[in-house]
Amino acid sequence: MRVTFHRLTAAAALVLAVTACSATPQAQDSNGGTIVVATAGEPDTLNPVLNYGVDGASLIFDGLVARDGRNELTPALAAALPDVSADGRTVTVKLRDGVVFHDGTPFTSADVVFTYRAVLDPKVDSTLRSDLDMLDAVEAPDASTVVFRLRYAYAPFLQRLTLGIVPATALQGQDINKSGFNRKPIGTGPYQVESWTAGDRLVLTANDRYFAGKPANRRVVVAFVADDNIRAQRTRAGEFDAAELAPKLAAGLGTVTGFTVHKVPTADYRGVMLPFGNPVTGDLAVRKALNTGVDRKAMVDGVLGGAGEPAYSPIPPTSAFADATVTGKPGADTATATGLLDAVGWVPGADGIRVKGGQKAAFTIMYPASDSLRKELALAVTADAKKLGIQVTPEGLTWDAITPRMKTDALVMGWGSPYDPDFVSYKLFGSKFAGEGYFNLGLYKSAETDKALQDGRDQADPAKRKDAYSRFQRQLAADVPWVFLTYLQHTYVVRSTVKGVQPRVEAHEHDVANSLWWNLHTWTKG
């Protein structure tokens, strides 16, 4: 009740303040040490165990390892990059000395063990367990050593060690799912949480005891503005030092002096999953025709406002594992596409829609109704398919309505991780995962692909891995279980006076953690 009363007094003060506040306060000049960034996605929780900042760069936490500006692994809470045994099943980590949590408790191996055991605990509502199914046990032989024991050798295991470490003392004996820690966490990272007003902002203050040195700025405010337009308007009004914006809106701000637009390359692709259980999309000729007949260039220019590039495979061109031979024409090659259809007997009917053996070349492309980008891509594919004589019906649905239909109806999907080709792809295209969860939705089954993906994760030798993923990409291009459309570029608008921005290839998932501000603690504002 007292809170309400204060707010009522605030209401009374409002009338008085109207006259006092006629000039817009330009607070950013007086607060030189504060950096304000704006993003659409607000985390549900700030606890790494429950999925916050799993890929590192979370500002509040550190993993055992981190990634640098080229996404190469560097030691963070580990003293050096972890040691992998010859059979690939034992990983030993020596921990950095003298690291303390924000509350002053020293960081030890017990915290690492606690963090990973919490993830594996079935009582904890963590979805990370699915990514760590190779992990058998975590042990701490002494205070500065951690040993991970794996069920099977897993080449990219070190990439999974970016998970932020939580202090055991703060969480021991609590119900982690409902702990207050999730909203006001304690980590070892460059910033500690001052306050989090859900739906509004997260306020962070510098951690002067940060092991990699004092952050260059005293305070960070992350503003959560879900709506694209409002975020753009507030950016233009000068409220933010950096903001992620939709490409077209960012382009509009690029002409305003005082802002720099960063188009950041990503591994974040969009494509159409074509189910094998559908009589039309199950036909290889139809899949190949669509793959050559879609106008990727028009999508990049028209839908993405130029912030993207055509996609032909799930491994981004920026990756060392990308096979340069797997490519295509950016524009629509309608002639080749119709030739493919003609050759196998798909002939145009009276209404212009092709028919083969009584089967009309018509199918549905579903898209999640809340995602305007996927909606626009679905419509663009629909228009391109029509030129080939294929009738596509777009349908905007919620995920629960999409789920039961995924085996027979096509779906616009988005994915992508720049860190390792095994991530996502192993489950997305492996026949073991056909029909499980959201993995291999189209029931794609190829012994070649399975073998290549398995080799990729079993082999420790980078050259052998590269070969395996080349085979994988070529097989995918031959079978076309997906029509890959575009890689996005995440677009950010940054105040020109901000120094130290170092874009790196980004993943599909990015909000507070893992965005352009992954190295925010080294940014300065002139």
Binding site: K178, V221, D227, I230
Partner: protein, 323 residues
């Protein structure tokens, strides 16, 4: 008709209606095709295995039979435990506690502004019926009535925040400010409060204008005029007072509209109030949060209605409330 009986009668209806509403909402929530485990996991659902999601469901008991779930929900509700928000990952009570104040402030201030402005302008318009002010106000009222609130809000942001730069385009406090200061909040809330007030004003304005115009023709007002009392005294002392009573009930019946407007205004101005979180909860099908917000808001509106009724009885003893 005593005040106590008024309260008693109101409660007699309100409690069953609230109970029925809660039951209806629960049935709808149970019939909903959404999987709470996937809503909880959000984007991570796509990388989680079926086994992983099944563990989550077992942890929450969402696979229990329906009556068991309803009983658990309603008994917790009555004890003040509104449940656990599956999209916000915190107790519903703390979501509401953190946000209700701002919504109350927004709605309260807008209501106050609407009342003062519509009483003043409506009375003047009625007094000078057919004058330019009357014509202008009525034309504006009809036009505003036809415009969606979010349109007004976007237009206000474009003009006052982007072109003129007088007010911030959204948010509650200056984004770089440390802490909440009344002046800062006021500066941020002027635009949303005004937009909400303007969007709700036509109703009130037209009502005041018409009823004052009618009462200006009432016998006692004509008599007062005939006695040679000055125009202003007749207008505010007699005509307005007659029109004021029905106006009181209007406030009560119009509160739900105001709440709906607040949802939209909060969304456009990215204010951390209940409205904005309702939309997020709806997009995430967060049943516990949605149901609690709807029930709490309804209870608040019912209470406010009761208060206006009591005020009405106090102001005019002739009124019988059991119509």
């Amino acid at each position: 008709m005593s005040a106590r009986r008024t309260v008693g009668r109101r409660l007699l209806v309100a409690v069953p209606v609230l109970a029925a509403t809660s039951m209806g909402m629960f049935a709808l929530g149970a019939a909903s095709p959404y999987d709470p485990a996937e809503q909880y996991a959000g984007a991570a659902a796509f990388t989680a295995t079926d086994e992983n999601l099944a563990q989550l469901r077992a942890n929450w008991g969402v696979d229990d039979p329906l009556p068991v779930q309803y009983w658990r929900w309603i008994t917790n509700l009555v004890q003040g435990d509104l449940g656990w928000s599956i999209t916000r990952h915190e107790p519903v009570t703390s979501v509401i506690a953190a946000r209700a104040g701002w919504t109350l402030l927004l709605v309260g201030a807008a209501l106050a502004l609407v009342l003062v402005a519509s009483l003043l302008l409506g009375t003047v318009a009625a007094y000078r019926r057919g004058g330019w002010l009357d014509r202008g106000l009525r034309a504006a009222a009809y036009a505003v009535e036809a415009m969606p609130v979010f349109w007004l809000a976007l237009a206000a942001i474009t003009v006052f925040a982007l072109v003129l730069g007088w007010f911030p385009a959204g948010g509650l406090t200056d984004i770089a400010a440390d802490g909440v200061h009344a002046g800062d909040v006021a500066h941020h809330l002027i635009l949303p409060i005004t937009v909400l007030a303007v969007s709700q004003a036509p109703w009130f304005l037209l009502f005041v204008r018409d009823s004052v115009a009618d009462s200006l023709r009432d016998d006692h007002v004509l008599a007062a005029r005939g006695r040679g009392l000055p125009g202003r005294t007749v207008l505010f002392g007699h005509a307005l007072r007659t029109a004021l009573l029905p106006f009181l009930t209007l406030i009560g019946t119009h509160l739900p509209e105001l709440v709906g407007g607040a949802v939209l205004v909060e969304t456009v101005f990215s204010l951390p109030g209940l409205g904005a979180v309702t939309v997020q909860a709806a997009l995430g099908s967060d049943f516990p949060l949605l149901a609690a917000i709807t029930l709490v808001t309804t209870a608040v509106v019912l209470t406010a209605n009761l208060l206006t009724d009591l005020a009405y009885t106090a102001a005019d003893p002739r009124v019988r409330l059991d119509g």
